[in-house]
Chain length 268, copies 3
Amino acid sequence: MRTLVTLTTDFGTRDTYVAQLKGVLYALGPRDLELVDLTHEIGAQQVMEAALFVRAAWPRFPPKTLHLVVVDPGVGSARRGLACAHGGQYWIGPDNGVMSLLMDGTTRAVSLVPERFVVGPVSATFHGRDVFVPAAARLAMGAALETLGDAAFEPVRLSWPVPQVSSSELQGTVLHIDRFGNVISNISRAEIEAWQPTSVWPRLRVRVGSAPWLPLVRCYADVPEGSGAALLGSSDWLEVAVNCGDAAQQFGAVAGGRVQLCALPAGG
Amino acid sequence: MRTLVTLTTDFGTRDTYVAQLKGVLYALGPRDLELVDLTHEIGAQQVMEAALFVRAAWPRFPPKTLHLVVVDPGVGSARRGLACAHGGQYWIGPDNGVMSLLMDGTTRAVSLVPERFVVGPVSATFHGRDVFVPAAARLAMGAALETLGDAAFEPVRLSWPVPQVSSSELQGTVLHIDRFGNVISNISRAEIEAWQPTSVWPRLRVRVGSAPWLPLVRCYADVPEGSGAALLGSSDWLEVAVNCGDAAQQFGAVAGGRVQLCALPAGG
Amino acid sequence: MRTLVTLTTDFGTRDTYVAQLKGVLYALGPRDLELVDLTHEIGAQQVMEAALFVRAAWPRFPPKTLHLVVVDPGVGSARRGLACAHGGQYWIGPDNGVMSLLMDGTTRAVSLVPERFVVGPVSATFHGRDVFVPAAARLAMGAALETLGDAAFEPVRLSWPVPQVSSSELQGTVLHIDRFGNVISNISRAEIEAWQPTSVWPRLRVRVGSAPWLPLVRCYADVPEGSGAALLGSSDWLEVAVNCGDAAQQFGAVAGGRVQLCALPAGG
């Protein structure tokens, strides 16, 4: 297995910033380094969006993958850098919450001490290149996580919106609109299962905002082209979609909006 | 030679879907795997566009390259998956026509039988990750095409628009507008050669829609900056271009529009 | 160290042009080839923008990196191709100035003689694929620069705008607006140091166009969110930024616009 390093930034792909990260990674990293662009299109300074993406993608990567996350509006200020190990993989980035949605009691985290690994001058505006990449290269060369810093004290945590459950309704929030216009919520398959037995699922109805109620189906093609439906997406989150269409546009959905789930009466 | 796998999708590069494909490919594929993004900007669910891109790019890749094509509006429905071998290279994707523009009598094709290679749960909405990638990884590890499924029965074929020829005119269709605004038609160098001897080519004129007739030149710089011309592009398709400008905008060309070729009288 | 080749083009990532470059590079290049997208979003035919990007990124790459630069409005005309060696790295592209901002008395340059390395037919519109890639592959396989052509005679040079200095003012030009809306000028740290001792820097004020005068700070977070400031960016160019905002939009800055630097009176 080669040494995989993924990159998640808000740099876009037009400027040279991503290339600069990669150049330094190749200069300092191991010979078998393999870089994967996770995305460079996080909204500028959108730490929460980065945190969601980081959480969504990592389970698909092989053990020991190292994820570099550079969405860093506080660069140059007193905010610390963070490296953590979780589920056999690694993350490095600013301590501003970008990794916090995957951290739990099993996560090991250190607060970076740049003096221990930085190899050149450190700019005030690009710690991704000057601090996080050297740390990543060190880790990729086989150094132990603990050599990069001191035990992290209260890393920044972002709050994940929790769906509200009542006997009549499960209510959640729109987390993300994807490229297809699919409206992805914070309601997981496990939460629906805990709320209603699967025998009731054919009677479940879903709506986003004040749009019409939609049935819960298995795949996009279960409804005619242009029709809306709800389904459990590929990461087991409830989403609202339109077969061959754009659900966000059709139903006026926006990130942060409301998603509701209710059950029709039996035999109704 | 390493094991090259290209990726063609309509996922865009903002979401984590491409990264999820890559993560699973690295987890399941050979150690010398090399991934190449062909494009992730196929229009959402635009199967014909994907088919054109697949046909345009493959001749440049080395033998044994494997191309993964995930433009899949019918995901989760009864549509089958397809793997094929053609010209010493391989393709894997949905059986919806995305590979059909390169298939001919020499193509070997199998209809995927996921039970033979799938390694985990299969979602209803992301067969790219859960079915096609495991098939690709198997092929990349050296398995024979035929181990992935059964002989394909009548794979879906897309119809390629055929230029119309008369003694006075060759008429075709705009297939694609590229980033520069170049207007690429379905008229090939071979078709022009079959219609008129090259001695007549200096008298050929081309127009798109009802725009002015343009001369056939050799390269963009053969006309002044801002002027239009027709030429045979880098894949030997007739295209209409503006030197340092945007021909589609200047001539109001759109995909599907008409392209005409005629010959001025000799000595005129 | 593997053989690193970076790609800088104005092709965008939607069409198949970049993939065609890569396919041929893999077909002709060494087994340990590693490709890095520097950017494919240079404005169409914007040679000066490409030259600026080429100059900004290369110092971060390891020795022997080869940079392929394909922004080539004159393709197919009499313009020559160029290969050069500078600072232990290599560049290949059209002789239209794209490499000229890094060339100095230490640069070795040859004018490409395609007959010496081209392996197939050469199209009139895509020398990136048909000429520059075969040259790059040859260099990547270990050939000496001088085998690719003859000593270059007067390669095309682009003129770099030079800041104007007076006792009261340092005046420069906006070179680039980045993805964040940061306004990057042609005034370097060294030029400011030569103009005013660092003891005066706390009294320096900067403005872009006719926008308000801004203080010179160290990092974005030194001013409140939404406030503007000037700082020395990660490549030591003076830039105007807004903390968590878009300075270009807020201050109406455009590439080519004026940037001024002056000093408040001491004790004022």
